[in-house]
Symmetry: D3
Subunit: 164 residues, 6 copies
């Protein structure tokens, strides 16, 4: 039975919104595998190593979560991990259409894989990674959006970018 679930994403970087989804997921599944994606066609702010280590540090307190890197199809990863369940957070202000297209595309690629949508707290429903980076760049206080370790790394990165 489906005791394991895969939660795929970019996590560039991980936010309180992602952590909220993880906390909800481990209340439903025995084990949640956070799968940090490497998509050749995307420009990440943080490297795979950095993103992995930030998720690991931020999610350390959430029992049942493990973190893995992955490339390729998430449906293949799910099979390899012996599960048919994918998790996605569905924010009140998220792009439903994109999520639906992705879930249905994955279903076509692997008929038995189900995408399970969880709702993060409304406190995080407006949290967008793009806006987060934009306000971080402007040196705003982002401590209510991301954990300490992410805040520190994000500020360093932004300074380095600015000084270039």
């Amino acid at each position: 039975m489906a005791r394991v679930a895969v939660y795929p994403g970019s996590f560039d970087p991980v936010t309180y919104g992602h952590l909220d989804v993880m906390e909800r997921a481990v209340r439903i599944f025995d084990r949640v595998i956070v799968a940090v994606a490497n998509n050749a066609s995307k420009n990440y702010l943080f490297s795979m190593e950095e993103r992995l280590s930030l998720v690991r540090e931020a999610a350390r307190g959430i029992k049942g979560v493990s973190v893995v890197p992955f490339e390729g199809l998430v449906t293949d990863l799910a099979k390899k991990k012996g599960t048919n369940v994918l998790i996605r957070g569905l924010r009140m202000t998220s792009d439903f259409e994109y999520e639906f297209q992705m879930a249905l595309t994955n279903r076509r690629l692997a008929e038995k894989v189900e995408t399970v949508f969880l709702m993060p707290s409304e406190r995080f429903s407006f949290l967008s990674a793009t806006l987060l980076k934009e306000v971080a760049r402007l040196d705003a206080d982002i401590s209510s959006f991301v954990p300490k370790c992410v805040e520190k790394r994000l500020k360093e990165r932004m300074k380095r970018c600015a000084s270039k």
Copy 2:
């Protein structure tokens, strides 16, 4: 751990869309309790007894599904059944806002209860109970929308309404 999930709804009457959600749910959870709601403020086409018996007949082939009537808060039912998981189908054309309001209201009423959204097949994404009854009333062929037993009962009901 969450091996049981409650799938609440009106099921007035049950459609292929609901059955599709049930089939997906039992691939994720050990047992799915379909909870047929009785809401004093709603006008149902079918009585509680009829709705229950139609869901039972239609879902007979889906292993792991049981069907119960309920009144009151669905969060109370979940607790009584020893689970914290509610299931809702999220159709491409469904009312997100209503579903989100309900999920968040339920979360306020019972913090630990999580609503898990599943996507029915796109073949059923447009299936609306209201439209179904409307075309049934006009004596259309509804065999691709609902199982045989529902079709029969729906046609009988519509005739009786018309002859009044």
Copy 3:
């Protein structure tokens, strides 16, 4: 070939938005049959006779438009009229989901019938029959929403309702 199209609706009452759609439709199709629906489960403000006569008067100037009453499935009407084309206006603020459900339901009932969506002028994109009746009831100036003949009849009706 599809030279005839059916434009179904309640037209309770006909507005400038409907007339705008008719004017666009006759630039695409040779003949547009405006089909005024009678749905037993709906409460109309105007009777079928009144709605028919208002559409006829309002659309008199639009060459190629004819007006008919209908009951039953619109897909059956289309077949009887020898066409496979239905027309619907799609306002920027209209209920897409309802329109999509209806179009897909009709497609299931009659595979060859296509719903063609036209966009009325943005001047009419916000025009809702429900709001129209609400402001008419409050004796507002509705001359920019409906033709003279409709305005007159609507005001009379509202007075009669109020005096009850």
Copy 4:
């Protein structure tokens, strides 16, 4: 200059979401007139007197707010009150389309009247009056949705309805 603003609504009953909008409004305008509507075509749970008195009690602490009943066009009320500003809360999950239709209809009726949309806190973004009444009917704890005085009155009303 526009120092006064009218905030129209049903307030059936007033919720923390409405109060949040009022608190934001008085930070922008010198005086906010909460206009409790009586619409002959609507079925209210509470009478005009009850709704007025609940808004007055709940909003007592918000400096700059006054409460009035009104019938008729809100644009007429605005003129009478010497302002051209209407306020509406726009929840993340609210019905944009309805709000937009209403705002544009009002603009047609009174060209100079502007509708100003404010966003309530995300904590109230999911709060729907309809769902509120539904869960109150089921005797749920609604203390995080409405002020004490409303909670009390709502519970009394629901009991009376149930005992009928």
Copy 5:
């Protein structure tokens, strides 16, 4: 009368969703001109020649379809082809807003040109060109999304990109 319609798009590459729209369009119009756009500001995966030849090969079986390249305003192309009808597919999960903006912009540029929206089958409603390319890059089975000839070319292209 409008017997000819222009169906503009990028077709980068053509999918079963596009072909579904073409099949519906030729049931309504005598001739459908598929207009493959070259927009200097866009980065196409396939060259104009490739896109043209793929559409031609894929649409070969659809009677009434012809395929042309075009640059410039689609409203100018429509005039040159002697028609006032543009066709666009409107997927349940497509970007309505973009489609509406484009249709209204085109209307401003050429008042008499009408955009006619057709709904592809719900089987293709989730099909996004962007996701298609993404999963093709990951060597997924895309045979249910695109015709054979497109599949072959897409896989070749992706390999070439990867080996760079």
Copy 6:
């Protein structure tokens, strides 16, 4: 009290839609500060100097409007200008989600700052800066989208781009 409001944006370039919002804003607030943003991560078509001078020229006739450049957080600018009111236009076809995320992010950064949404005329509700540039590039008549001075500059720029 809030007599001053800040209207931030890219204005790349200013359109009739922006001017419509300004005209509405000065009917509500004594002074409207149009804040032309410089965001290091964006690619503007026009330089800050050009955008400033075009807004100034186009808005010259609107009493109460002043124009300033800004970098950094808009909430900081608001504080410096002694106001807590931000203005944003909310088009029927605009990206609500983005606007909501931005408004809520700004609220987190500066609790007292309120975003006030105004609706431009429905004539401008479809006007997208991206589409505007696209049709300008194709040498379309854009005189109903932007003021003369912008039209001229836009056409020059497009020619220069094309000749490169």
